[in-house]
Amino acid sequence: MSMPVSTRKTPMPSQPPGERIRNFSEVALGYTEEMARQEAERCLQCKKAPCRQGCPVEIDIPAFIGRIKEGDFAGAIEKVKEKNNLPAICGRVCPQENQCEKYCTLAKKGEPVGIGRLERFVADYQLSQGEVEPPALATPTGFRVAVIGSGPAGLTAAADLARMGHQVTVFEALHVPGGVLMYGIPEFRLPKEIVQREIDYIRRLGVEIRTNSVVGKMVTVDELLESGFDAVFIGTGAGLPYFMGIPGENLLGVYSANEFLTRTNLMKAYLFPEYLTPIKVGRRVAVIGAGNVAMDAARTALRLGAEKSMIVYRRSAEEMPARKEEVEHAEEEGVEFHLLTSPVEIHGDEAGWVTGMTCIRYELGEPDASGRRRPVAIPGSEYRMEVDTVVIAIGQGPNPLVLQTTPGLELTKKGTIAADEETGATSREGVFAGGDIVTGAATVILAMGAGKKAARAIDAYLRQKGEKGNG
């Protein structure tokens, strides 16, 4: 039954571009059982499995793929879940080309095994089989842990701590849990129902999730510790949007990517007026930046009815930080790329509405500290670009609400929390941190990895504190 093994990944079925830019349904449709088994056949089951070193949570990749090969999908997902609580999410949004797939032996000669696609397949397979039985929990320890923020870092820490027998309460500022998975990443890339099911699963582990709870305002970290929590995990993410500081940035029609995506995803502005939160999308939209956030905003703009959606980025295609697949999808959908270009001013009409931008062209100079060639403005190259909506997606920083109200919590120069890389321990006893609030804006899987490590460290910290009756 040996088939010739292709040097290419089994293609992913997806909605045709012309159709999908008119809806918010998922773009990539997922493998069928046949496709999954065909793709699994490509895996060489390498003894050393170099792919594993690229996975921040160390999934036993050949083992789970081997089970798919045998048609044992239930066994495959079990293997994945040993290391990863949120496989349906990671399989969709991990930047695989920089992680597991980058190290795959097959990548040397052709395309790597579609590890992410296979991970997504087994996770979806399990979800399609109905409710997932929560695993047996450890004996209750009586310890209570507060988790602040319900993004991937907080959810992972909460789930692991609950399994270890601790009583976990998650405090979330917004009205739904999930962090960026709910308010940032669009429905067409990560259906909210999938996030919801993962959250339900975590609830069934006994985790209490309290929404509408802004720590730093409603309650402080110190008050949590005083009121009976034995440890605190901070996973508040990097939610503070940066603006460019150029003239015209407060004109009507200029959004931060966070606002643009939050109105659309969290508040479902695409269902306006049925849903009451409005969003304004003009005919010509410029998105400044070229990361995942920028691609999401540019593709969202098309779906909200823009005639033209443009990425404006001051470096070149090579330096674009977005996942490769997202850039390809954006290109297929007709997003225009204006590279080596950056706005210096946004113009408006008398009523304050955006009418255009003055941009300046850049060329690439010497490599900078990040190793990427530094973009240098070309004097006199200014030109005008007609746009009526501008979305700023140049990055996010740490939200200071918790940090300002937690005395003694040491920060880095960037304003993120200084935490031990292996344990998440901070300068405050009993206070741990992980995810974007420590690393700055990074990835879902790194946030999860940090949540996992912190859960282990918190467990060890609590157990060395000694016995605590069942409370």
Binding site: A173, L174, H175, T211, N212, S213, V214, K217, M218, V219, G239, L240, P241, F243, E249, N250, L252, Y255, S256, N258, E259, T262, R263, M267, K268, L271, F272, P273, E274, Y275, L276, T277, P278, K280, A351, G352, N399, P400, L401
Partner: protein, 280 residues
């Protein structure tokens, strides 16, 4: 869910709701606000904390029906509940003993001025309050304001009660007669701008409470940008109170108009569905 424990109609189109939210009440201070969402398709809207009761665990809000969401909120009754209610948000008013202070409240802005005046009086200030409305029937919280002020002055635009004219007329009179150490002004944007212009020649520090359009209220989206002293600030976390002499008022007025067309559309759509809403 956050149950409504008390409802009062204070004036035509101005209503009071007391909501049970013990965690918010525990920490609420004058000058802060909450964000609520009535139901699943609902919008998140900010309202100032007009009062709080820590023992009962309740927050009082007073609002004017200006669009669909505030109208819908006004249709709710005691025993109904709100889906989401988050706070206290924003920085509290900086309460100190400044000496003699003037608290100016216009229209529904009297509601947020009330806890500020009370706290200022408790801190030992001499509190002169000036409240106003378009006409007598729209004037709210007169008795409450009288209790927390050493002196209370009232104006109505149509002269149906108190001084005929604007609150700023009375403010200028006070400033001419007495040395004032600080002024608070809360109300419609045009009124807060007028208060700031009135105090500028007297060099009296003037605090206003900005009401930009908001989404999350935690500093995550930047919808609430206001320009203060040439710098962009986020109304929800840096404010809502700012130095009125530094605010870019034209920008503030402009930004409040951002969704005018959509607001009308939403209202028409839901009005038809629910058969109501005569607020415009």
């Amino acid at each position: 869910m956050y149950p409504i424990v008390k409802k009062r109609i204070l004036a035509p189109g101005i209503k009071l709701l007391e909501v049970k939210a013990p965690d918010v009440a525990r920490k609420a201070q004058a000058g802060q606000f909450i964000i609520l969402r009535i139901d699943e398709p609902g919008e998140r809207i900010p309202l100032t904390i007009a009062d709080f009761n820590r023992e009962e665990g309740t927050i009082t809000t007073i609002f004017q029906e200006v669009g669909y969401t505030t109208w819908h909120l006004g249709q709710l009754e005691e025993g109904d509940a709100l889906l989401d209610f988050v706070g206290p948000l924003g920085r509290p008013t900086e309460i100190e003993n400044y000496g003699r202070v003037v608290c100016v409240g216009g229209g529904v802005g009297v509601a947020p001025i009330y806890p500020i005046a009370r706290a200022l009086k408790e801190a030992g200030n001499e509190v002169i309050s000036i409240i106003g409305a378009r006409s007598r029937e729209l004037l709210i919280l007169e008795e409450e304001m009288r209790k927390v002020s050493h002196e209370l002055l009232v104006s109505t635009d149509d002269g149906s009660y108190g001084h005929k004219g604007f609150v700023t007329d009375l403010l200028v009179r006070v400033l001419q007669e007495k040395k004032v150490d600080r002024v608070w002004g809360i109300g419609p944007v045009v009124m807060m701008k007028a208060v700031s212009e009135a105090t500028r020649p007297f060099g009296v520090p003037t605090i206003v409470s900005m009401n930009p359009i908001m989404v999350d209220g935690t500093g995550m989206c930047g919808a609430c940008r206001v320009s203060v002293g040439g710098e962009t600030k986020f109304g929800c976390v840096d404010g809502p109170e700012f130095d009125g002499h530094q605010v870019d008022w034209d920008l503030a007025v402009q930004r409040l108009r951002m969704y005018r067309d959509e607001e009308a559309r939403a209202q028409a759509f839901h009005q038809e569905k629910r058969g109501g809403c005569q607020c415009r």
